[in-house]
Amino acid sequence: MTTAVLDELRELFGQELAPVLRRLGERPRGAADGPAARLGEEDAGTRDAVWATLAELGAFGPHREAERVAIAELMGAALYQSPYADTVTAAALLAATGDPAYGPLLDEAARGAAAVALAVREDGLSGPARPGPLTVHREADGYAVSGRRPFTAFAADCGHLAVVGAGSDGEPVLALVPRERPGVRLTRRDDIGRGDLYAVELDRAAVSGAVHPVGALWPAVLAAARVRQAAALAGAARAAVELAAERLRSRQAFGQPLARQQAPAHRLAALAAEAATAAAFARSVAAAADRGEDVRATAAQVLYLAGDLARRAAAESVHLHGAHGMTEACDAQLFLRRAAVDSQWLGTGTELLREAAALLSDTPNPR
């Protein structure tokens, strides 16, 4: 990816459009189902336009992880919600199997013409490192799968579901399930992030092609996804801090802008330093992945740091906006909402630290 393309992406997710993008995935609260749950026409139009621009700029194509984290950071700062992140991860896993039958779908995904939802968790309690159980049925004309995936993002927008699950021997397997087949049922969820989250019920849902064992592939694919997620969260933390700084510059109290008060200024400065550091860490882990190194431990670590940071930065941003920060009209609360979901989407802090700890003695120090 050229610098020119990155510049265009920077512009796409930059100051001008960010306020629109931040609210793009928003659904009114309590509107899990029914007409209010659907995107307004204008929002849907904008969403399609952004997706088309991403495709045009080649954001879906094969990239080095270093490039992907740069894109993720920009998207995170704009709180851009879409099937992009999970499509990239699902495509990486499909590609890693080496099965040529996935070729056409992967080509479409690389052009932005197909989106794939990633369905891994069986409940909200444990993250994707340990995929939920999946029953695989051998049918006359191929395979079918049964199981539940109650936290699947953007399932309704995706033609396929990449279902990762623990098969009968407990080892992770991958099944590609076309969404519009019998046996696939989606129910929209209502969550604090007001994103587009679905409970997916699979009842002998037909699988496209084979069911692949992915025990050896999933950890590396998940690690790369975690680094991108960490970059997105670091971007969100930075943007939440910038929003608060803007507010402090414009809000007068005690005869001067709040920006002149050292206590909040220092706190924002510290968060900005943490955000920049987390982003640097994400870039360095991505570069290591591009060199073919095992980044499972460091991916868990960077996501742990960025997730914790994104939540703290969002809370501080709301706080420094004062009561205005608690209003729907203020974007600071959007960061708070998203951070609660995004920070643990690929594992909670406890899970990430536990995984990193288990690998610590095998993880060489950086030099």
């Binding site: 444990s126 005690f254 009561a323």
Partner: protein
């Protein structure tokens, strides 16, 4: 349930707590708490029957004299009611606004006529009083307020805009701070009025929030008020606001909110087996320790109040300390419950009916409401440490 025993209660106080708790454990109250937790978006707690049930016994404002609808008891009993209501899942905003703030102001400086007119109805849970201090350009720096009372014969006409206030859409009367005299010193010339909210010159507009309950923008357009509507002395509002707001502040209410959330997280940890896992159990124990410490500090303020010697620095420390624990409690909720804690009451499958998710959204409000963390720290730094 852990943390419900402050220790050091007298037998009479302990007995009082038992009776309050028994009332709040009745089926009709449990049903009401469940109903409130499941309110659809846009519906919020207002004149609640449980306030009337408490009020019938003088327990809504137990520390008020019986002639005004209280039970003639002390600060400890008032703190007990606050704690028990919150732990029982009854929202406390109406109680705090009507009883702890406006009622307290009325008791301390109201005329006999004002007391008779408002206190019994407030203590019975039949009337709601709200607080109109904050303005679009005057929050932490409240002395910058611009709502003005213009002289009009033997009274005033009130003009201004008040924002971020709660429950004004349901209130009968509000405690409203306005400028009566222009002065080069911002703190001078402020007067407190009892503003009838259901007046033609009062317009209440919703300001939707991150939480289930909305804020209001109250536009006051020429409402006529007289001496009878002044609370305390004309031009003496600033001193009253500073002195009396401190009396409401013990940290007991905020502690109870944090404790309720931590108890829910602990219950989830037990139900999922995570309480047996040190990765979750140790942080739970650490936060439990902090909340117990905060509880002790808050109750020390209650005791000071009861003894007639409130400690403004201690109160600020207690409020700051307990509200700083809420974010770590919510973080731990996400660790223990994972994405399930992110599901709203409207999802249908949220654990605890979405209480944790609502808690996540309300999280930042505790460090802002009733004096922000920075205001508390400034009070401590200046009054206790001679700094700033």
């Amino acid at each position: 349930m852990t943390g419900r025993h402050p220790g050091g209660l007298t037998p009479a106080e302990e007995e009082f707590r038992g009776r309050v708790r028994a009332l709040l454990a009745e089926d009709r109250v449990r049903a009401l708490a469940d109903e409130i937790a499941a309110y659809p978006p846009g519906t919020e707690a207002t004149h609640l029957p449980v306030h009337r049930w408490l009020g019938e016994r003088g327990w809504l404002a137990p520390n008020w004299p019986q002639e005004y609808g209280g039970a003639g008891l002390g600060a400890a009993e008032a703190a007990i009611v606050t704690e028990e209501m919150t732990l029982a899942g009854i929202p406390d905003d109406v109680h705090v606004l009507s009883i702890d703030i406006v009622g307290r102001f009325l008791l301390e400086v109201g005329t006999e006529e004002q007391k008779k007119r408002h206190l019994p109805a407030l203590a019975a849970g039949e009337e709601i009083a709200t607080v109109l201090f904050t303005e679009p350009d005057a929050g932490s720096d409240l002395s910058a307020l611009r709502t003005t009372a213009r002289r009009d014969g033997d009274g005033w006409r009130l003009y201004g805009r008040k924002i971020y206030n709660m429950k004004s859409q349901y209130g009968e009367v509000a405690l409203c701070a306005a400028r009566t005299t222009e002065s080069p010193v911002a703190m001078h010339g402020i007067t407190l009025f009892l503003l009838p909210l259901r007046s033609p010159g009062v317009h209440v507009e919703p300001v939707p929030t991150l939480c289930n309950d909305r804020f209001n923008l109250v536009v006051i357009d020429g409402v006529r008020l007289t001496e009878a509507d002044v609370l305390g002395e004309v031009d003496n509002g600033w001193a009253l606001m500073n002195d009396l707001l401190q009396l409401e502040r013990t940290g007991v209410d905020f502690h109870a909110k944090a404790r309720r959330l931590l108890d829910l997280v602990t219950e989830r940890a037990a139900a999922t087996g995570r309480l047996a896992d040190p990765a979750y159990a140790l942080p739970l124990a650490a936060l439990d320790a902090r909340l117990r410490a905060g509880h002790a500090m808050a109750w020390q303020q209650v005791r000071n109040l009861g003894a007639g010697s409130p400690d403004p620095v201690g109160s600020a420390m207690a409020k700051w300390y307990v509200t700083e624990q809420i974010r770590p409690v919510l973080d731990l909720a996400l660790e223990v419950c994972g994405l399930e804690a992110a599901l709203t009451a409207w999802d249908g499958a949220a654990p605890d009916g979405g209480v944790l998710e609502a808690g996540l959204r309300m999280g930042p409000s505790h460090r802002l409401a009733s004096g922000t963390s920075e205001v508390m720290l400034t009070l401590i730094a200046t009054n206790a440490l001679g700094l700033l």
